[in-house]
Structure formats: C-alpha cells, structure tokens
Amino acid sequence: AQLPEFIKHTECEVDLTGETITIYHFGDISGPYAFITQPLLAGLADTIAYWNAHGGICGAMLTTDNKDTGGNPAQTQAHYDYYRALEPKPQLIVLYASGDAELLRNQVAADQIPVIISAGSVEGLYGEDGQTPGWIYATNPLYVDQLGMFCEFVGANPAEFPDPVIAYVSWAGAFGEAAFMPEAIDYCAEQGVKILPEPQYFRPTDTDISTQILNAVDAGANIIYTNSLASGPALIAKTLNDLGLLDEVKLSGVNWALDTSVGLLGRTSLADNGLPAVNGMYGSLPFRWWSEVQHPGVAFNRELATANERALSVQNIAYILGSTLVDLYHEIYVRTVNRVGSLSAITGSDIKETLDNIDYNPLDMYNVNFANGARRSTTGNRIAQMFFINATMTGPATSGDDAMKIPNPDGTNIFVPILVPRTEVQDVPDLRPGN
C-alpha cells in the first residue's frame, strides 16, 4: 500500500521492518481540555491505523502509550516519572498543555528527552527570560505571537475596527493567561490597538460572566480577545448576545477558539439574525481547515474521519493536529534513522538534532521550520472568521433562514461552522520577552 502522492517524505535508507515506534503522549484527557484532547486522540488513532496499514515508518509499526492527567499537575509529574524511567527511555514525548510543558521544561532538558507540544507558551519553550530554548518544540505559533498578529490585522483594517480597544477576557490558569504579556500590549500599541491593562478572567464552570464582560465594555473595549476554547468563546458570545452588545463588541480568540466545538456549543444562543451568536468571530488559523476541501491534506483527513465514522464534534482542529503529528513523526524518525543507522541507537539528543534542523510541512497542512534560527514554534498563521454554512453549501449563511440546519434530538438545530481566512499565511511577530 502506498501513501498518497502529496505526502513527500524523505526516503528510508534503513529498513525497520519488525520494529515498533511508540508515540508517548500524556495530558488532560478528561479535564477542561477534553473537547480538544479527545479529538486529538481520535486523530492519532485513525492516522496510526492508516499508517500501519500503509507500511508504517520504514516498516516499523507505530503504537501509542498515553496517560491522563485530568488537568492535575501532580499527575503530570507522576506520569512523567513513569515515562522517564521506562527502558529504553522515550526519545520523544508529546504533550498537550502549556502548563504541563512549563512544569516539565527543566526535567526534560535534564533527562534529554525532546518534547513536541501543540500549544505554546513562552515559558514552556524559552524559560522565564524568554531567551533560553529548551527541549520543547511547538506545532502552533506562540499564544502571545498570535495576539500580536491579531493586532496587526486589526490595525490594518481601521474600517472594520474603528478605534480598536481590546479587552482580554479569558480562562484563568496557565493556558488562559498565556497571551496576556507586556510585550503583546506594547506591540499592539505600536499597531494602534489598545489592550486594556485589566484582564478579566473566568472559570470553565461559570454560569454567568456578564459582570466580566460588562467590566470590559465599561472600560471601553470594543473587541474581546480570549485564550479559551470550546465553552469559553461560546459563553462570551452568548453573554454578549444576552446583553445586546453583539453589534458593538467583536469577539476574537486564539487558534483553539476557531473551532467546531465552539460552533456546536454556541448553537442555542441565536442572535437577531437567527444565526448563532459566535457567527463572525475572529481568530488565528495556523492550519488548513476542514472547509478547504480541495486541499489534499484536508481531503485526506476527511476521508480518514469518514472511514472511522467520526462525529462532527470530532472533526475539529485537534483531529488535524493528531493526524499531522503522525506525519511529522514519520519524517523525524526517517531523518534520524538515516543519520544514526538503526532505531535502537537513537537517543533523545539525536531526535533533537533532527528537530533543530527540520523544515517540513506535515500533510502539507502547515509548516514546521525550526531550522531558521532560534524559534521553537511554528510561525505561519492566518487570521480567519467563523461563519455558518448556508443551505446550499455555497458559502456563509447571511441569516438563520438560509443557513443549513441539522435537527438535533434535543430539539435544537446544529449549524455547521466554516472558517473563512481573512489573510494569507504570514509569519507571526516574535514577542518573546527580551527581544
């Protein structure tokens, strides 16, 4: 069996038939990030099955070894201790949460285990001073850089955003607070965008956040930026809708915010035009997305998801991350094996060497380039908007009447979200401290 044409791997020079390569990964599967991590696992599982059916990595079969932290850092530590004590020691580990990366940063460096993480906070990747790269690499642009790029976009579109003032309304915690850094505030000010000095935080379990939203609005905000996902952006949109502020305040967020889950959870808070209140939300889109059907990588993912009967809620951003991760693994291992000569001889630092020189597009969905200097996260990003598809599936719906509505057993309608890029892929600014 052959992999599709568009996947261009380095040629194998060593035959690994009969061996196995394990993808070690652990993170919060059952806690607040479940909406993201569950599809991630699905994407991994589907793609691994596919890969193994198509020759594996140079003949080596892929397996996974994973654990759940439930969002509890004590568990993170316990699981890490388990992994680092394995024999042979893992050569590469995948993590999901910024908090976990920050916690383990020094330890993985001491144990010489490189880590790939989908999220990215400055501290996890570069330490407190923002200048010391560790052993952690991110497949997303840094959160603070994403905010910077959004400001660029806002500053460049004064007609759409007159007198822009951004309020940072987000979940509390490592992930939620990650983008709110002085560097971002300064950079945005340079772009002519003001960020309110007082961030507003809420918890994933909060029922009502009208106080936080009104605080932001009273302070003059006309844009809300959020570093939350799934229910987070949906709740902000609902609150804006309830308060009748949908027209005055625009909603935007991190790459996780532009996601199917938000569309699904936000389906019942309908604005006056009959569409969910999240309609029109801005955000980062560093990957190709499901609605770009012509793209071969997206098509590949679609086929995979369909073949495995994945629900609509699973066909989201994290599924894509899972599938591309497997492809990235393939490339990393082929390159390293080619250089080292055998699978058993590979160490963590060999993998690190490969990562330090890599420039590759996993499934052609985004670019991973750590060869260009000291940056340890991807840099390509687009600003996009979330809309809902119309009944004829030709484009965004303009109102509830022409939208495609799938009836749900609970009596509501599901609207199908689509993402519309507003910019071309471009590099995010580098807003690490000390730059």
């Binding site: 059952s30 909406f35 935080y201 009104l214």
Partner: protein, 394 residues
C-alpha cells in the same frame, strides 16, 4: 502576649466587631473609587445576576444540608451526584426512543433498592413485592415512552429513578457500613464516592462537554431568552436571563417544599435525632437506615435538579462538580443544619461572587471572596448564620 490574651478574653465581642468594622472600612476604602464610578445599572445587574446564580448554589447547599441533617455527614460528593443526575437526565432527554430493556433494568434496580431500604428481609413481604412489581412496570412504561413531545416527562421520570437508585446505592454500600466511624473517615468516603462517580460518568458519557438544551423549550412557550429593562435612573440596561430566572424559581420552590415537608411531618425531627446520635436513635426505635436512605434519595433528586439546571444554563462536562465548591461555603455560611441557611447562604455567595468580580476582577469574586466572607462570618458566628449552636456543657 499575656496582657493581650487577657484583653481579648474580656472584650471578645468588642474585638470581633472592631475587626469586622476594620474589614468593612478597608473594603470601602479599597472600592470607593470604583463604586463611585459605577452606573446604577451595573449595580442592579450584578445584584440580580448574583442572586440568580446563587439559586443553584442554594439548591446544591440544600442537598448537602439535608444529608447533614440526617446523618451528620458533609457530602462532598454532591457535585458529582449533580453531574451524574444531569447526564442521566440528558440521556432520557435527547434519546427519542429509549431501550425498554434498559429502562426496565433501571426501574427494577431502583425499586429493589427502595424495597430493601431497611434490609433485604423486606423482600419476603408479599405485599411490598406486589407494589414493587407494579412500580417497575409503570416506571418502565413511562421511561420508554417514545416520541419527542414527552421528552421532558421521560427525562424527569428517568432522571429521578436513576438518581434515587444512585442515592440509595451510595447510602447502602458506602455510608451505612461506616456508621459509627470517625467524621473524617466519612469525609473521605464521600470523596471516594466522588471519584467513582467521576470515572463512571466519564466512562459512559465521555469527557466531551454536552450541551443540555432544556431551556430551548422556553422560546416555544413564548418566553424570551432575556428580559431587558431600561430606565432613566439606571443609566443603562439591565438584562435578566430567563434560564437563570427559571432556575432560581425552581430552587425557591424546592426550598418551600422542604420547609413544608419538615414542618408538617415528623421526618425532620427523626432526621435530626438520628443525625445526632444514630445509636441512640436506634435505641428509641427510629429506623435509622430508612431515614438515611430517604435522605440520600431526596438528596440525589435535588442533586439531579441542580445538575440539570446548572448544565442547562452552561453545559454538562466533567468540570460541573466544581460548582459545588461555591456551594460549600454557602452551606457553612448559612449553618450546617439550616434549610433557611442553605437558601440564604447560597444567595449570599452568589451575590458576593458577582460583586467581587464587579469590584476587583482577577477572579477575586469567584475564588477569593466566598471563602473570605465565610471566614469573617465564622469568626463572628462559629455556627453559621442559622446553624444550631454547638452545645458546650460539661
């Protein structure tokens, strides 16, 4: 130090009130600026939202108080019972055709647990067996009633049946064996039960958030999503969410129901007696096990109600139980034994949270203020606002 201690002993009330006054003055000074710059609409809005959100806390608190009244145990599992009830409700709510076999099994389990409340020997009683069989049949029919229109009814029956089952199950197999053991063994037991419930819910319903659309029917009843109120003096708009309003009134209704229940039956008295001293209660002939079982059954229903309302107003996911951490201070604030206390405590915590967020930001309202207020109240009233006074007699 000695002199200080002596002074404190002699002027305890004075010192306490001075401290409280100091807290209030600091509070005022800290917030004066912010308060003055607020539009009246914000204050009204925050007060209303706070009260409404407090309704759910009150409901959770009510369940905890009930268990405590009946057994002297603080039920830390309340949050997870909420989650479980909510999920169960969701299953019946969003599945148009429930498998009659599953419904039958659930009904059977519940009826069995109810019959065996006081011991399995009751099953030998033919009369109660007959009633039991009839109950199983009726419940099964109700729960597997097909169709979209009876969704609500089906869900209510199913949710209650399932919750009662779980409540009685917990009581029977985890609480009852520990009768007479130290307090914190019981505390740990309820925490262990939480873990089991969490794992179980995760296993059956997965960990991806579920949106429970119970309030989507409001629109069809002609109720708007929000009620908006604009007036001159408000200098702005006040918005009331209908779903929260409904939640609030249901909580109130539950409260009134309880007050009446305890007023017109002896059960309340029996509960208090057996909570205080189970052994003694047994020795005067109270059926402590039945009392305990009834309390857990009712509490499970209350938890389900809270779970459904909270889940409906936000969403159902594994984080839902954390709402209970706002209800815990509410329970203690109101007083562990007091139903009124649960209501008042819930509302106060709701208010405090929202006002805290209004005045301070930085999560101060949600995380800090409830417990800070609790500490202050406990220093003045060690038994909460309406709690029974601890009897110190030697």
């Amino acid at each position: 130090m000695e002199a200080l201690q002596k002074f404190y002993r002699e002027n305890r009330t004075l010192v306490t009130w001075l401290m409280v006054a100091a807290v209030f003055i600091v509070f005022y000074l800290l917030t004066q600026e912010r308060l003055n710059s607020l539009r009246p609409s914000r204050m009204v809005q925050t007060t209303i939202t706070g009260l409404l959100v407090g309704g759910v806390y009150a409901l959770i608190a009510l369940g905890i108080v009930l268990i405590n009244k009946a057994s002297g145990v603080f039920n830390f599992a309340q949050g997870y019972m909420m989650l479980f009830g909510g999920m169960l409700f969701y299953s019946f709510f969003s599945t148009p055709n429930v498998n009659p076999l599953a419904a039958g099994a659930l009904a059977f389990g519940t009826v069995l647990m109810v019959l065996a409340m006081n011991g399995w020997r009751e099953l030998r009683n033919l009369r109660s067996l007959g009633i039991g069989v009839a109950a199983v049949v009726v419940l099964t029919l109700l729960m597997s009633w097909q169709g979209e229109d009876v969704r609500m009814l089906r869900a209510i029956v199913g949710g209650i049946t399932g919750s009662v089952f779980v409540g009685l199950f917990i009581e029977r197999f985890t609480i009852r064996p520990l009768i007479g053991q130290p307090l914190f063994t019981m505390v740990l037991m309820t925490l262990a039960v939480s873990e089991i419930l969490k794992g179980f819910v995760n296993l059956i319903w997965g960990s991806v958030p579920i949106s429970l659309q119970i309030f989507s029917g409001l629109e069809r009843l002609g109720l708007p999503n929000t009620i908006r109120w604009e007036a001159e003096f408000l200098q702005g708009r006040v918005v009331v969410r209908t779903d929260l309003l409904v939640t609030f009134f249901l909580a109130l209704a539950a409260f009134v129901g309880f007050v009446l229940f305890f007023r017109y039956t002896n059960v309340g008295l029996a509960m208090r007696a057996s909570a205080e001293n189970q052994q003694l209660a047994q020795s005067v002939g109270l059926r402590v096990r039945v009392i305990l079982a009834v309390a857990w059954g009712i509490t499970a229903i209350l938890a389900m109600l809270a779970g459904v309302l909270q889940g409906g107003a936000s969403q159902l996911d594994l984080n839902l139980p954390f709402v209970a951490f706002s209800a815990f201070p509410a329970v203690l604030l109101g007083g562990l034994e007091s139903i009124t206390g649960a209501l008042v405590g819930g509302l106060i915590i709701g208010l405090v949270q929202d006002w805290g967020n209004l005045l301070y930001g930085n999560q101060a309202g949600t995380e800090l203020m409830p417990y800070l207020v609790l500490m202050i109240v406990l220093i003045i009233r060690p038994d909460g606002l309406f709690g029974e006074k601890r009897i110190e007699r030697i």
